[in-house]
Symmetry: C2
Subunit: 366 residues, 2 copies
């Protein structure tokens, strides 16, 4: 709580407000109005908290007291991170009440599909409470269309959470802020400086537009936690902004990352990573053994060998066994796809070039 | 997951197995059989995971799929930490389904009260699923009677979680292992080396007797997390043992604490802390302005000035404002009670003596 270490809380609030400015996030998320930010361990935990606040707001804070009733429904796309399903289970909604909506050809959520599903569920006597849109999906870095989704959620009074775990950092650069178009409709948002902002794990920045909704959901006040500062109503007790009661002083490392690089330095590295990934994509396109699975929007390139799943699996294993680089995989259109991501602190042009040379060397002819 | 950093997982399993031996915990909690341990951030998070596994075991893993149905009931004593109520809300049971049972004169859970409540709830068509017993309650360090509670939970097929957040460390010393009598009946157990084992926050050690129950509750396997090591069934993916997917390498700091002090060194400090607290209690008893609220079982002394709540509140504020010591408070039998805890790395006899001298100096006559 605030009284345990005022500096820990105050610095965290400041650093998270700075990031609202640095990323050009909508002002509903800073602490000067009704919103505010808090550091969580991971996006999984942040999403769980968003879902819980959504659950409570939808039921007038009755689920906390009476328990879930199997009528609440949550919405994601088929490409949304699996942590949302985990959260839906944890929060007692049940994964049968999670709708995994079909996506468009770029793997983004389709607002008209969401709209139809919301209507169908309401018609069935169910209660839509939560939509999670993603800025940069795990498998392919797809960007869900926030403006249409956001207007729909506002009209339907459904909590909109936006998960920008890796890609959010791109908004440090004005030219990439298009990824957050429509974010002004969101009730909550998170991104992870530990993913693409050079900050040691763990550090997820979680923002809410209405902090009272979150606090009312997670606050419990036994006698041994009562204190004058909390009762003044003028301080944040971050204990009530997440699952654990105790917490570390994670704002320090985030502050020092910002001090060390400066905003211009952070922008430089983000730009360079996007440039390197885009350059890598042109090399993939120029080699007729390979194809891009999708045009890369930022720093994640999804590509595959044209020789089929087995060729890609063998290539993946040979590359990772080299110890010189590490690729991950996904299935896109039910085909094994390789993923190269440029985002680490020490990654330079030569690493990306060497990665491509190694891929070319180990790839068999089609 | 294991494949991300095998050393991180393997060392954690080893260190948590060592602690089973070091604390003389029942062998159902080590990883050689069906159990195992994992590091979580705090006891709040560990308890939530225990409750979720209990919820799923009780419903044949149907709550995860279908959602909660308001029939599941959880049991604690009136002295149990507030994080359990938070967990009951988060997990969708609803705090109305949390029974806060009356305690005995030493603030410990009364097994016969638990037995009656279990029967009453079953008679009402409800489904008991979770009991949380505490070894060392927050307010007064009370020790719930595990042997009777454990036999009851086994007979009733209700998940028993044991929260020994601070006091568990006492079991490093054989003479204090009585606190864990009956723990062989428990399904899960946690204690916090960051509380009383000289380890930097955060570090909660969480054990389950049936790891499959926990993993089945929290596991989700999307394509991008599939890998050969996981599919062999021969490694732990700790991602499935708690809420977050990502995790830090916390076993390192715990290992180094054990290396630095050695078992004998840890025992020495635990013994010294208990001795100092007990000595402090004799000073309290010898000053007729003060009284003990309860006989201190270990290292937490609950005492009060005989002059009433206001005298205690003023004394508490004056002492904490001095900056020389920090007392916390609780209400016991509805009277404000001061709590002095001896457990920090650098605390020596002179600090406890100086604390008492300051308390005596600032205390008014009755």
């Amino acid at each position: 709580m605030w009284a345990t270490s005022p500096a820990c809380t105050e610095l965290e609030t400041h650093v998270l407000d700075w990031l609202v400015e640095m990323l050009g996030l909508p002002r509903q998320f800073d602490s000067h109005g009704r919103g505010g930010g808090v550091i969580q361990d991971t996006a999984s935990s942040a999403t769980l908290c968003a879902l819980l606040a959504a659950r409570e707001r939808a039921t007038g804070w009755r689920s906390n007291a009476q328990g879930c009733d199997r009528r609440l429904v949550a919405y994601v796309s088929s490409q949304t991170h699996s942590s949302i399903e985990k959260a839906v289970r944890i929060a007692g909604l049940g994964s049968e009440q999670l709708r995994r909506l079909d996506v468009d050809e770029s793997f983004a959520m389709r607002p008209e599909v969401l709209e139809r599903q919301l209507a169908a569920d309401r018609a069935a006597g169910l209660q839509p409470c939560f939509v999670c849109a993603t800025i940069g999906t795990t498998a392919s870095n797809a960007i869900d269309p926030l403006p249409a989704i956001g207007r729909l959620c506002a009209r339907e009074d459904v909590w909109l959470h936006v998960d920008a775990a890796m890609s959010g950092s791109a908004a440090l650069c004005p030219e990439f802020r298009f990824i957050h178009d429509g974010l002004e409709h969101a009730d909550s948002y998170c991104f992870n400086p530990h993913k693409w902002m050079f900050t040691n794990f763990d550090c997820d920045c979680f923002y809410v537009a209405d902090r009272d909704a979150l606090i009312r959901t997670l606050s419990i006040l036994p006698e041994y936690l009562r204190n004058r500062a909390s009762e003044s109503g003028r301080v944040f007790d971050y204990r009530d902004w997440h699952v654990p009661m105790g917490r570390r002083f994670r704002a320090l490392k985030l502050w020092f990352v910002i001090r060390w690089y400066g905003v211009a330095g952070l922008q430089h590295h983000i730009r360079e990573h996007v440039r390197l990934a885009q350059e890598f994509a042109t090399w993939v396109e120029a080699d007729d053994r390979f194809e891009l699975a999708v045009p890369p929007p930022l720093n994640l390139v999804c590509f595959r060998h044209r020789g089929g799943d087995r060729a890609n699996q063998e290539l993946l294993e040979a590359l990772n066994a080299s110890g010189a680089l590490y690729l991950t995989h996904a299935r896109l259109h039910d085909r094994l796809t390789l993923r190269l991501c440029v985002g680490q602190t020490q990654t330079e042009a030569r690493h990306v070039r060497e990665a491509w040379e190694r891929i070319q060397r180990l790839a068999r002819p089609v």
